[in-house]
C-alpha cells in the first residue's frame, strides 16, 4: 500500500464520517464545524488530484467564507445550546431508506460501468493557462460563462444587501415561539 493510498483512505473516511455527522448531529454549531472538516478534507483530495488552484479556492471560499457565514448566521438566529427536537422515527427511517437505496443503486451502477481511460498526456494546470482560458474566445475559452458568473455574483451581492437590510416592524406570532 503506497503513501498515496493511505492518504486517500484517511481523507475519504474523514469525509464520510463527518458528512454523516453533519446531517445527524443534534447541535447546530457542531454540525457547522463538521461541515468545515468535510470541506477541508475535500480540498486535500483536490491537492491529491493535482488541482492546486482549485484546492486553494476550496479552502479560501468554502472553508473560509461560507462556513464563517453559516456560523455567523447560526449565532444570530439560534441559541448555541439549543438542540433539535427529533423528528418522528417514521420520517427518519423512510428518509434513511431512500438515501441508502439511492446510494446502493448508484454504487452498483458505478462498479458495473467500464470507464475507458484516455492515452493522451496530462495537461499541466498552471495559473497562466487558467487565466488565459477564462478570458479567451477560442475553442478552449470560457469567456461566456465567466461573464455570466460575474453578473450572477453582482446580482447576488445586490440582492443580499437589499433583502437583509430591510428592517420592517417584526410581526411575531407569539413571543415565546423559539424558546422550546
Amino acid at each position: 500500500m503506497t503513501a498515496n493510498q493511505i492518504m486517500f483512505i484517511l481523507f475519504a473516511s474523514m469525509i464520510i464520517v463527518f458528512s454523516i455527522l453533519t446531517v445527524t448531529s443534534h447541535k447546530i454549531l457542531r454540525a457547522a464545524v463538521y461541515l468545515l472538516f468535510v470541506l477541508v478534507s475535500t480540498s486535500a483530495l483536490y491537492f491529491m488530484l493535482n488541482y492546486q488552484f482549485l484546492a486553494a479556492i476550496q479552502l479560501t471560499l468554502y472553508a473560509g467564507g461560507i462556513v464563517v457565514l453559516i456560523i455567523f448566521s447560526i449565532l444570530l438566529t439560534s441559541q448555541i445550546s439549543q438542540s433539535f427536537e427529533s423528528l418522528g422515527w417514521k420520517k427518519n427511517i423512510f428518509s434513511a431508506l431512500a438515501a441508502i437505496a439511492g446510494a446502493i443503486l448508484s454504487i452498483v451502477t458505478i462498479l458495473d460501468y467500464k470507464f475507458s481511460a484516455t492515452s493522451e498526456a496530462a495537461k499541466e494546470v498552471d495559473m497562466r493557462l487558467i487565466g488565459k482560458s477564462l478570458l479567451s474566445v477560442d475553442y478552449d475559452g470560457y469567456v461566456l460563462p465567466f461573464e455570466v458568473i460575474s453578473i450572477l455574483l453582482l446580482a447576488a451581492m445586490v440582492s443580499g444587501i437589499v433583502i437583509a437590510k430591510k428592517a420592517g416592524p417584526s410581526k411575531t406570532k407569539s413571543p415565546n415561539y423559539n424558546q422550546k
Binding site: 498515496n4 483530495l45 491529491m48 438566529t77 433539535f84 423528528l87 438515501a99 448508484s106 450572477l152 455574483l153
Partner: protein, 105 residues
C-alpha cells in the same frame, strides 16, 4: 500522481457524500442545516467533476472550470439564502420550516 487509486473510489466517495446530503435535506427542519446539506451535495458534485477530468480527459480542462463555476454559484446561493434566513428570523423569530408558513406579511 494518483497511482493505485481507481476512479471508482472517488465516485463512490462522492456518492456517499451526495446521499448524506439528501438525507439531511429530507430530515432537517432548520433552514440553516438544510443549507448545509445543499453545500454537501454541491461539494460531492465537484469531486465528481474533478475526478472525471483527471482520469478520463486529462488533456482538457472542462471539469476544472465547471467546478470553479459551481463554487461561485454555491457562494452566491449561500449569501442570498442567509440574507433570506435572517429576514425570516426577523419576522417570525424562528427559522423552523414548519413554523414559517405565511408568505405575505
Amino acid at each position: 500522481m494518483n497511482s493505485g487509486i481507481p476512479l471508482q473510489y472517488f465516485l463512490i466517495l462522492a456518492t456517499i457524500m451526495f446521499f448524506a446530503g439528501i438525507y439531511g435535506f429530507l430530515t432537517r427542519r432548520n433552514l440553516i442545516t438544510i443549507l448545509m446539506s445543499v453545500e454537501l451535495i454541491l461539494n460531492s458534485v465537484n469531486i465528481n467533476f474533478l475526478a472525471f477530468n483527471r482520469y478520463l480527459y486529462p488533456h482538457k480542462l472542462e471539469g476544472m472550470f465547471f467546478s470553479i463555476f459551481v463554487i461561485a454559484v454555491a457562494a452566491s446561493e449561500a449569501a442570498v439564502a442567509i440574507a433570506i434566513i435572517i429576514n425570516i428570523y426577523r419576522r417570525f423569530t424562528t427559522i423552523n420550516v414548519e413554523d414559517v408558513n405565511e408568505m405575505k406579511f
